[in-house]
């Protein structure tokens, strides 16, 4: 007698469950009841002991451990993964002006069309005048956003990031979900910084690889 296996064509790893024969013992349910009560009591004693002694498994580091692994939410928070896409922020330059050059790449890439940008020229006399623009208005509707991260991918200046590590907060009214430029600029990254580690080379800097005002046309 060879052992029969489920057919290979089965898409799942089917487990063959043995049929329990109907005997007076199984039909009285008494062994099953005793077994069930034993399981319940084991869990009860183990969890009560660990709760009293404060030895419950760490809900994050020991997620797969037996026992109470509840994250008690307002007091405990599950840390988001490193690359979690949280609420957007606009990164700042060294002089606290936005890195954004209002190229509209992000709002073009946005599938939800939740980014609104009004571009403006730097004032006459500013060395960036005629070289790059800045956003007069930069508005993100966080209710509309689907947190796909395409805006971050599209940005050529590393000006918009989603590394705040916080999810969109629940508010009372829809207006509060409209994030304006100043708010977006004030949101810090997870490490608390308002800038990014990618260097920014301003026109005129020695480190600037390309055009200066003089080299330009």
């Amino acid at each position: 007698m060879g052992t029969t296996f489920p057919k290979k064509s089965s898409p799942t790893n089917a487990v063959v469950v043995e049929h329990v024969p109907h005997t007076p013992t199984t039909q009285s349910y008494i062994p099953a009841i005793v077994e069930g009560l034993a399981v319940s009591m084991r869990h009860f004693f183990k969890n009560t002991k660990e709760m009293i002694r404060g030895e419950t498994p760490d809900p994050i580091l020991e997620t797969y451990e037996d026992g109470i692994i509840t994250v008690s939410y307002p007091e405990q928070k599950r840390p988001y993964p490193e690359r979690f896409r949280g609420v957007h922020r606009l990164t700042q330059r060294d002089d606290a002006s936005p890195r954004c050059v209002a190229c509209l790449c992000c709002s073009t890439a946005c599938p939800a069309q939740c980014i609104y940008i009004e571009a403006g020229e730097y004032p006459e006399g500013d060395k960036r005048h005629g070289y790059e623009r800045y956003p007069v208005k930069f508005v993100i509707d966080e209710l509309r956003c689907i947190f796909c991260g395409y805006c971050v991918e599209a940005c050529p200046c590393d000006a918009i990031r989603m590394d705040t590590g916080t999810h969109a907060a629940p508010y009372d009214s829809r207006e509060q979900f409209i994030y304006e430029k100043d708010l977006l600029l004030s949101l810090p990254a997870r490490d608390g910084s308002l800038k990014t580690i990618n260097p920014r080379h301003e026109p005129g800097d020695k480190s600037h690889p390309g055009l200066t005002r003089e080299h330009g046309h």
Partner: protein, 456 residues
């Protein structure tokens, strides 16, 4: 009845009603918290009160108080076409019998007041121990630790336990709601079915104990063996029937949420719902008290008698330590309430472990299993009892030794359980290192999840 007896009666009523009502409130917490522990959850722990800026949660024990406050402040809503009188009467009818039922349950050994007075008169010295047999030296000073020493004992219990049906049936009928009515029908038929089996299982016990007074039953068990050894089958049958009487899972068909919203009290709100809810938990307590009194030796503990600790097997006496009467009283009261608490805990374990019966299964279990088994138990008990009566002193002495052995067995089992729990409490469970997710890796970088002290 003189003044002293009146005061003692009031004290006994306060103790009994206070215990039942308070433990019912605590049971509402215990039930949820214990279920959480059994299912690897945290359970209720949010109710909090603040004193001087410090938060106290007491492991969720404030939830019954919060629930009570909520019950009282909620609106009492009555469906427009409900029967006004009966609708308001039903919660009272379901609660009162349970509270009245505890009147005949003894919660401690007979208290001899003259022992305590003698101590005061002597002005110090060791309190004397009472003799093991016989009542107090002065009959007037004997205080039975039960609210009412009725000589019909168990019959009173059955009369009142049967009244529970009335409240449920009236509640369902007067609500003007089909689900309520179906719940009431189920409750009525279920309780009638199990009342029969419940009464018949105890016939055997009554024959052996030779009394229907609960305190005499307890005394018999203290002198011989606990009821669970004398009538093991009746114990399990009665336990099943009592669980069914309290209308809790696995017998909660009258209030089956998935079928009948919440059965016969669907239409009740606020404290009227609270009374049904409390009545259910009080039934758990009272049925535990009955089981303890009839099958688990009531206030008696193995080898502890009125005169103190006596370890003896037949003629062979191993040890005897006289213990003052007042200590024996305290031990007996604590033993009774401790046993009741343990049994309530067991009922909660059962409630969270077993699935609900189907309705036909419920009726089959009642009429085709419990009832025939109860009748067979009566028959066998009668035959054996008669045979033992005719057997003569040799058999009686042998049975006495067997009874002492069961007492020893009980003592060993209780000690083992206590020691095992204590050892288990101080043993740390080995952890198995396993793979962690990306959130866990992030937590490792940032030093784990910040844990606040209050989670229990």
């Amino acid at each position: 009845m003189n003044g002293t007896q009146l005061v003692w009666a009031l004290i006994k009523i306060l103790v009994m009603i206070g215990f039942v009502v308070n433990s019912a409130a605590i049971l509402t917490w215990l039930d949820r918290r214990q279920g959480a522990m059994m299912q690897d959850r945290v359970g209720p722990n949010r109710a909090v009160f603040k004193i001087f800026g410090r938060e106290f949660r007491l492991a969720g024990l404030l939830h019954p108080a919060a629930d009570g406050l909520k019950f009282f402040t909620k609106e009492f809503y009555r469906p427009p076409r409900a029967d006004k009188l009966l609708f308001s009467l039903a919660p009272i009818l379901s609660m009162m019998p349970v509270m009245a039922l505890v009147a005949v349950i003894p919660f401690g050994d007979t208290l001899c007041l003259n022992e305590i007075y003698r101590k005061a008169a002597d002005g110090g010295g060791v309190w004397p121990a009472e003799p093991r047999f016989g009542l107090c030296s002065s009959q007037m000073s004997a205080i039975d630790l039960m609210v009412s020493p009725l000589n019909v004992g168990l019959l009173y219990v059955f009369a009142l336990a049967g009244q529970g049906i009335v409240g449920a049936a009236i509640a369902g009928w007067s609500s003007d709601n089909k689900y309520s009515l179906m719940g009431a029908l189920r409750a009525a038929s279920q309780m009638v079915s199990y009342e029969v089996a419940m009464g018949l299982t105890l016939i055997g016990s009554m024959m052996i104990y030779g009394t229907i007074r609960l305190d005499d039953m307890v005394r018999w068990q203290g002198d011989h063996a606990w009821g669970i050894f004398v009538q093991p089958l009746a114990f399990f049958l009665f336990f099943t029937a009592a669980t069914a009487e309290s209308k809790r899972i696995p017998f909660d068909l009258p209030e089956a949420e998935s079928e009948l919203v919440s059965g016969y009290f669907t239409e009740y709100s606020g404290m009227t719902f609270g009374m049904f809810y409390f009545a259910e938990y009080m039934e758990v307590v009272t049925s535990s008290m009955l089981i303890v009194s009839i099958f688990l030796g009531g206030w008696e503990l193995p080898f502890l008698h009125r005169d103190g600790l006596t370890i003896a097997f037949g003629e062979v006496s191993l040890a005897h330590v006289a213990i003052p009467h007042i200590w024996m009283e305290i031990i007996s009261v604590l033993a009774f309430f401790g046993k009741v608490a343990a049994l309530c805990w067991l009922q909660c374990i059962i409630r969270w472990s077993l699935p609900r019966f189907r309705y036909d299964q419920l009726q089959k279990l009642g009429w085709r299993v419990l009832l025939p088994l109860a009748l067979a138990n009566v028959l066998v008990t009668a035959v054996v009892d008669l045979a033992i009566d005719r057997a003569g002193p040799n058999v009686w002495n042998g049975l006495d030794v067997v009874a002492e052995v069961t007492q020893a067995l009980t003592a060993v089992v209780i000690t083992y359980v206590v020691v095992r729990i204590a050892i288990g409490f101080f043993t740390k469970r080995p952890r198995r290192p396993r793979a962690i997710g990306s959130a866990g890796k992030m937590a490792q970088k940032t030093g784990g999840v910040p844990v606040t002290p209050m989670q229990a």
